[in-house]
């Protein structure tokens, strides 16, 4: 018997919902079978905690006296986008500090940036706002230098255009004879290591591979608060090759998410630095998957053994879009600490924290059990396979300079 969102929410409110994590459901389906599991279990919780570069926050600072229409702004010397009204700012996670030497002294340190500003705001620390403006009749002021605190902001909401990637690459360095510094960490020469970034069997979209329950309005765990999915993420790519179990063999679906920064917890919103690459933000994200029917519960029972990721060379393959993957490995192999590539044993490193993903899934489970977290019924699901949507590269069209008579 299929269940509805309303029925499950009624059970949650009554404290009667059966909620399990995406780890626990594996054994339940194995032991009881999908039909029985679908009857008994109402919600499966997922979780992930990893660097999610396409993240940032909207802030409204309130108006200064006299007023200014911010033209350019810096938060702790990190540039925030101000091309919105007068005192709305967007601080992006990967923005480096204004005077950072970046990679001029390679590999750069990137000790502070947008992700860290967002973390500092969440932690309740004062952040220095500097702004300049050109002055108008209605906004005469031209300069601002002040401390701000998240408490005093009108709005502060995390608004991330691409989070929760459904699967991801395993990064290696095949060709460079030196370590290479990437967003997948430091990769040693001669395939000296292999870095991956997914929670595998706990990862939200890997548990609902065709997005049958995820769409606009899905309520999620975001940075310790309750947030929402508001669109498919950028680069959403549902049409990548899949295994028979629906698992995408490469990075595929993504989500745009939003949530109240003021309600978030520093533990799940962490600025991070990638040596020689840049800064980013670790985001804790969890999605409750309603067990509407047997198919859904079968998908949530996916195991690390059944999920494969492509091994991609980041010395040439990725930067120059050369060749395909070197092969595929399962998350069970990746989590064992070693994988085989071309007959050699390679140590694996992770960017996604599995212990933290477990905690998020567990926390979400407890919140639902306690009736504190209700399911959000999506008003529209994000595009799936039948949409035919693919992630395109940029087709460059050379710009021909106009030649004038006088050269």
């Amino acid at each position: 018997m299929p269940k509805t969102y309303e029925e499950i929410n009624a059970k949650i409110k009554a404290g009667e919902a059966v909620v399990v994590t995406a780890e626990e459901i594996i054994d339940i389906v194995e032991e009881e079978g999908a039909a029985k599991a679908a009857e008994r279990v109402d919600v499966v919780t997922t979780g992930t905690f990893a660097p999610m570069c396409s993240s940032g926050a909207f802030l409204n600072t309130g108006h200064a006296h006299p007023r200014l229409k911010i033209q350019k702004a810096w938060l702790n010397d990190v540039n925030a986008y101000a091309g919105l009204a007068a005192v709305d700012l967007y601080i992006g996670a990967t923005e480096a500090t204004e005077d950072d030497p970046l990679n001029r002294d390679h590999p750069g340190d990137f000790s502070y940036g947008g992700g860290h500003v967002i973390e500092d705001l969440v932690a309740g620390k004062d952040v220095r706002l500097k702004a300049i403006a050109y002055g108008t009749d209605c906004y005469p002021r031209k300069k601002l230098d002040t401390w701000i605190n998240i408490e005093d902001l009108n709005e502060a909401f995390l608004c991330n255009p691409r989070n929760a990637y459904q699967n991801y690459n395993v990064a290696v360095n095949v060709h460079a004879d030196r370590p290479i510094y990437t967003y997948m960490g430091t990769l040693k020469p001669e395939i000296g290591n292999a870095n991956y970034c997914s929670a595998g069997q706990l990862s939200p979209l890997l548990n609902d591979p065709y997005y049958r329950t995820i769409g606009i309005g899905t309520r999620i765990f975001l940075g310790g608060a309750q947030g929402y999915v508001f669109w498919q993420g950028t680069q959403h790519n549902p049409t990548v090759e899949r295994l028979e179990n629906g698992v995408t063999k490469a990075g595929a679906g993504t989500l745009s998410v939003v949530g109240d920064l003021k309600a978030m917890d520093q533990r799940w919103i962490r600025g991070v630095s990638f040596h020689g690459y840049g800064v980013s933000l670790n985001v804790g994200l969890g999605i409750p998957i309603p067990v509407l029917d047997e198919d859904i519960v079968r998908f949530t029972a996916v195991r690390d053994e059944d999920i494969v990721a492509p091994i991609v060379d980041y010395s040439r393959g990725y930067p120059y879009s050369e060749g395909g993957p070197l092969g595929h490995v399962s998350y069970a192999e990746l989590k064992s600490g070693e994988i085989e590539i071309d007959g050699r044993t390679v140590e694996t490193g992770a960017l996604s924290s599995y212990p933290e993903a477990q905690k998020i899934a567990q926390l979400l489970k407890e919140q639902i059990e306690a009736g504190e977290f209700l399911l959000g019924r999506p008003v529209e699901l994000i595009p799936s396979v039948e949409s035919g949507l693919t992630f395109k590269g940029l087709k460059e069209r050379p710009v021909e300079e106009e030649v004038t008579a006088d050269g």
Partner: protein, 135 residues
């Protein structure tokens, strides 16, 4: 008679040079290799205990530096701030010893200071910068 523990960082180009045997012969030092990680065509790391005349040890290290080996006394400790560590595990492949490793079952990142040679490679490699050098 002085004794000291030193970390040698070799550039790739020096892997073929018999640095340690020269130190032993020329400066009359006893050496004990505590840890070594040298592979052809890659940077090498060697942790040595040197024993001999204090002035000779200093001269030997100066000579090694002049050859392009960066040396560092093993007086520092690398420490982990457990509140900062997010348990991701990107450090485990960077650590040349097994001081940082992952429990294959729990996926927790374990840090064993006794196995650490204070090479400091994990410090910039840690995304939340949980690893630091303590003097």
């Amino acid at each position: 008679m002085a004794k000291t523990r030193v970390v040698f960082h070799y550039p790739r180009t020096l892997i073929d040079v018999p640095v340690v045997s020269r130190i032993a012969r020329e400066y009359d030092l006893d050496f004990n290799i505590l840890r070594a990680n040298i592979t052809p065509d890659a940077e090498g790391l060697l942790v040595l205990e040197l024993a001999g005349d204090a002035a000779e040890i200093t001269r030997a290290l100066e000579w090694a530096n002049a050859q392009g080996v960066s040396t560092q006394a093993l007086e520092k400790d690398v420490v982990r701030d457990d509140d900062e560590c997010t348990q991701c595990g990107v450090c485990v492949t960077i650590c040349p010893t097994d001081a940082l490793r992952k429990d294959p079952v729990t996926q927790e990142v374990l840090f064993t200071p006794d196995d650490c040679v204070a090479c400091e490679l994990c410090v910039p490699a840690c995304p939340p910068r949980a690893m630091a050098v303590a003097f």
